[in-house]
Symmetry: C2
Subunit: 686 residues, 2 copies
């Protein structure tokens, strides 16, 4: 295939596809998909079977007939993406991965929820082939799928040349819980606005939650709500009707300018007579007798073991998905080769993004960041914005803001992403910090761009569940948080962060950087963009901060997370340790004390996580173990700083809310200024 | 008025009401309400005028004609409640408070956003008479208003005897930002399900956000979305049409089984020609010339000063609201007296709730909690549930769960709250941790009940913004968080909290309690329910924990936040400090070391906040300054514990995510078990 205008979409993934197996074999395959979760959970004594059973026919149709995937190559670029937002139904996913021939064995299902197995309680990224995202906290998968779809649309718009090579359908599977969570609503509203026609949300409409029927708390008209968002809505009234499911899913993935909600009316735990349709089907085994009854109802021997559920002919039928996948993959490879030949410019550009996904080229990055002014006494948010703009191209940065693009300094030159401009440069996430953050994870999962999003630090609280999940997945998302202390001033305590920096530092795998001046800002960006192994929260000042004059030592030291910025003599009598906007305060006090003959050092600590990763001897060099007169200073919660202050030191910080007033007034009122630092220093000197 | 069947609702608050002032005076009053924010913000140079201007006519109609309030008594029980969810428009609220004669002066508006003024940048509870809630973080006010409405409906259902004495209308005023935030969607969905007909949401439909037009990110059909939630929707096409506004607001407050959305189509910053209808009207002064033009357009002299905007006759017109309020109040007082006469049983019951709002009667509380078993080695979640049930009546507890009522052990005997059962005993919040938490604040603001809500600790992340706001307001909400460590086990890392306990401890004003056994659980509940000055997060184990045998010392010590649970000899060689499920581990290690002759103490620390409030000598008695061989143990982030471990001690904790496996396996794998504690103890002993 060599074609100047290749269009992979002419290959209907359904076409070469359906297991050529006859209705009986297919029916037995579906029955196995239903019975396996029931059997596994009963044998384990815990886990979630009900949804995995109810959605098994839907999943069967999706994985066997509709999905563009290749079980032999779970990382295939041309694949569709499936996000199981209802993560507790992990057995639904694992079962399909086994049945369609991924590198996952039936016996591994029996090990589900066992330490070290590849079938953990909830799906985990990088853990099981075919799992596209870690899910479990409800709603997250839906919102990240929106981000995935957004990134895919941009990929196709910028690189695809209309060929559809990079135009996967993104499928999210969600339950009522996912749709009750606000984050899914936020993201779904934006998906409608942006016309993400490559997104399909399969809704398990089972009318049951753990506490009882959804009428307890969820009587809204979900379909009408999604129509209000600008989605199309497709109903499947019988979740066991394979033809209806197939036509619904195929209709849903049609590119018609709108995302699609496929509402599948299911009965949780069906065909269990005792537990089906009740909250008791949500988790736990159904009981040996009831599972026997389920198996019997599905045409199995009541005492069938796990392998009995999947005799060779049925197994072979499922594995036809491999052939289908291989064919799709081959066709795609040919189309991709044609595209490369026809559009080497686009291929080159895209290849560069792929290559940069693990981190920007250090030399190019250094050149780009060298253009940023580092001695201008700007607010760190300002310099950060300049660094972002400078590094955007070489680091493949793409993102936006939750309606604060200017004041967080992330606005970039270019076009806004909208319905007609999927290749746009900037995403207006709306006032949706949570969905934004989940969507950044989706963009990172897509794999081409290094995503960023911005808001005020105080509102990082809205996004905690998505930040955590990004950290758990090791996704290199960048959170630009500005207005980083009570120095925010007049907007008052609701807008003044106090505990957020400390609180973000508790998240495993999240790096929290709070640079002290322009030079540290640039050094931080340089280190962050050089690798891509997890998320980073930038904590940046609203107010201007003086150049600390640290020069190259600052640049090197920042990358180590903490360093001696300045010292008088040995600096062995007193250590002032600070981050961000408090470092210059510490420096001023240190100079005054040095004039009195105190051997003082100022340690700038822009990133505690990085500092803790340094070798012990470096850490001891910065903060000698015997140096006990220590004052740590940060305009926020003291909690992280006792680690450095010790029992003989003091922490100058803020453990109460602010007030409405000017920034300097507030810092003084809350005891974080030169006077307070000096007083503490004199106390610890004794 | 003495009547066996009083019905205060027969008093139409509009009736005795409208300023009997003629259209001209009223028009001038409205013009003043528009001009004042423009003038104030221009003079200050910062602040938010645009929305306050655009909504001024709406607010005028509400406060002058529709609202049931008494400016002379902002705490009047019979008043309606207004929550300004769009808190940045604080001048809208402050202006109406001035114009209708609350204890707030025009000159105080000029001081807005000034330290110590009663007109902070965003409205703050307990700060300004007539402000019902602190707002600013978008969406929060909408969700808390739903909680307020829920509480009011229950009050009326249980106490009102159909008289409408306790049946206020709850008004929330929201902008597009509030409606984009997921928390408002969660709460609005539940409000529809529960048929909160006493709730009105006034939506400032201005089609503008900070970054630009709402079409950038918010093209959904909000009206259709709210209809899907089960709300009625009323449109006002011209935000300056006082008659249309009045009839819309009066229609909206009708009790028709549904909450109402009043969509007011506004032009932000109108009548400014330059800035009106643009993002530039959101914040900052409009410029001296433009404000002059605005004043001229409103019929004022272009150089009119603040007081010139409110000449005496106009001022007097506004103050007619006082007469209207006084009349409403008098009628209500009479009806209330009649109700007291007719229903002393209900009055007594309600009075008891009012009296108990500041804390439960200690003796009754002690009696109630004495029934809870404290030596049964139960999971702390189990004992906590028993304590909640035992104290429910004497402490006025009311709440529910985000779909985890059984596994968080908060299910109580009684009826679920639903549309037909507003007086119900238990709220099914649905899978909406964020809205639940915001709604608990609304219930607390209502003032009769001590609200509680439950979920798994890992999912407390979803509710951070509402937790923070409750802490800022000092609201006595109770958050019951169970499944408090990696010991959760098989559900895996998405369900295993690691950083949440530490992270909650950073929130100013929030008490975080993590009791170690049943006795500590009960002691914690006793202390928490005795006062009502802020929120408390209960951090409780899924797994059973042994009775520590602390007896009365445990009970007293728990209330102090930390205490010496056990010691060998002086206990001055080594201190093991722990909370919750790790205290028994520490105790086991201590006993082993004591057998070897080590003078060791075990400090149980169920609440760091309470411990830090103790006098220094008590703290030094528990943890002597000279005792440097210390090990702190908690199955979660180490961050809070360095404060106690010091530079010579160690912290045994978990700073990485868990895995899917059994609880004990996970604790061992992550290094929190007896072996790890003993090894650390031997290291610090040197």
């Amino acid at each position: 295939m060599a074609n100047d205008d290749p269009d992979i979409r002419s290959t209907d993934p359904s076409r070469g596809a359906a297991p050529d197996s006859g209705p009986d074999l297919e029916a037995r395959l579906v029955a196995a998909a239903v019975a396996i979760p029931a059997q596994v959970v009963q044998a384990k004594g815990h886990g979630h079977a009900g949804t995995a059973m109810a959605l098994a026919p839907t999943a069967h149709v999706l994985w066997q007939h509709v999905l563009r995937h290749d079980p032999a190559d779970p990382e295939w670029t041309g694949r569709d993406r499936v996000v199981l937002s209802a993560g507790h139904a992990s057995l639904l996913l694992y079962t399909q991965l086994v049945l369609t021939g991924y590198d996952l064995e039936l016996d591994e299902l029996a090990l589900s929820r066992t330490l070290g197995s590849r079938t953990p309680g909830h799906p985990e990224l990088h853990h099981t082939p075919g799992v596209e995202m870690s899910t479990g906290p409800l709603g997250q998968g839906v919102a990240s799928a929106v981000g995935l779809a957004l990134a895919a649309r941009r990929d196709e718009a910028l690189h695809g040349a209309g060929a559809g090579l990079f135009d996967p359908t993104v499928w999210a599977i969600a339950g009522d819980g996912c749709l009750q969570e606000g984050v899914s609503g936020e993201a779904s509203s934006l998906a409608g606005t942006l016309g993400l026609e490559n997104l399909v949300l399969v809704w398990d409409d089972n009318r049951i939650t753990i506490d009882g029927g959804t009428d307890l708390a969820f009587s809204e008209d979900v379909r009408a709500r999604y129509r209000a968002y600008g989605w199309s809505v497709i109903d499947v009234d019988d979740a066991t009707d394979l033809d209806a499911l197939r036509s619904a899913l195929e209709e849903a993935r049609r590119r018609d300018g709108r995302p699609a909600l496929v509402a599948v009316r299911t009965v949780i735990g069906a065909p269990s007579v005792l537990r089906g349709g009740t909250p008791a089907a949500h988790s736990g085994g159904f009981g040996a007798d009831e599972v026997s009854a389920v198996k019997a109802a599905l045409g199995f021997a009541p005492d069938a073991g796990l392998h009995d559920l999947l005799p060779d002919d049925v197994r072979a039928t499922g594995l036809l998905a491999r052939d289908r996948g291989a064919a799709l993959h081959r066709e795609w490879d040919a189309a991709e080769a044609a595209w490369r030949g026809a559009r080497p410019d686009l291929a080159g550009r895209r290849d560069a993004l792929v290559a940069g996904a693990a981190g920007a080229d250090p030399a190019a990055l250094a050149d780009a960041l060298a253009t940023v002014a580092v001695d201008d006494g700007a607010a760190t948010r300002t310099t950060s914005g300049a660094a972002l703009a400078a590094a955007r191209e070489v680091a493949g940065l793409w993102g936006g803001s939750a309606d604060l693009s200017s004041s967080t300094n992330v606005a970039v030159v270019g076009r806004a992403v909208d319905r007609a401009t999927p290749g746009g440069d900037f995403v207006h996430f709306g006032i949706r910090e949570h969905a934004m953050t989940a969507m950044l994870s989706g963009v990172a999962l897509h794999g081409l761009w290094r995503p960023y999003g911005s808001t005020y630090l105080a509102f990082s609280d809205y996004a905690r569940p998505s930040i955590r999940l990004a950290a758990l997945m090791g996704l290199p998302a960048l959170y630009v948080y500005t207005h980083d202390s009570v120095a925010v001033g007049e907007d008052g305590p609701t807008h003044q962060p106090v505990e957020q920096t400390a609180s973000l530092r508790t998240v495993p795998g999240l790096d929290v950087v709070r640079p002290a001046d322009a030079r540290e800002v640039v050094a931080v960006w340089r280190r962050v963009l050089a690798t891509a192994d997890g998320p980073t929260a930038f904590v940046l000042s609203r107010q201007a901060l003086p150049d600390l004059g640290g020069g190259e030592a600052s640049e090197v030291g920042t990358a180590r997370g903490g360093y001696v910025l300045w010292r008088s003599g040995s600096g062995d009598e007193l250590a002032l340790v600070a981050s961000g906007s408090e470092v210059h305060v510490a420096l001023g006090v240190a100079r005054r004390l040095a004039d009195e003959g105190v051997a003082v050092r100022v340690v700038s600590m822009p990133c505690l996580e990085w500092f803790e990763q340094q070798p012990a001897d470096y850490r001891a060099e910065v903060l000698p173990r015997g140096l006990r007169a220590r004052v740590a200073i940060e305009a926020g919660s003291r909690q992280p700083w006792y680690r450095y202050a010790g029992l003989d030191g003091e922490v100058v910080g803020i453990d109460e809310f602010g007030e409405s007033g000017s920034g300097p007034e507030l810092l003084h009122l809350r005891g974080v200024d030169a006077g307070a630092v000096e007083a503490a220093a004199r106390r610890v000197l004794g």
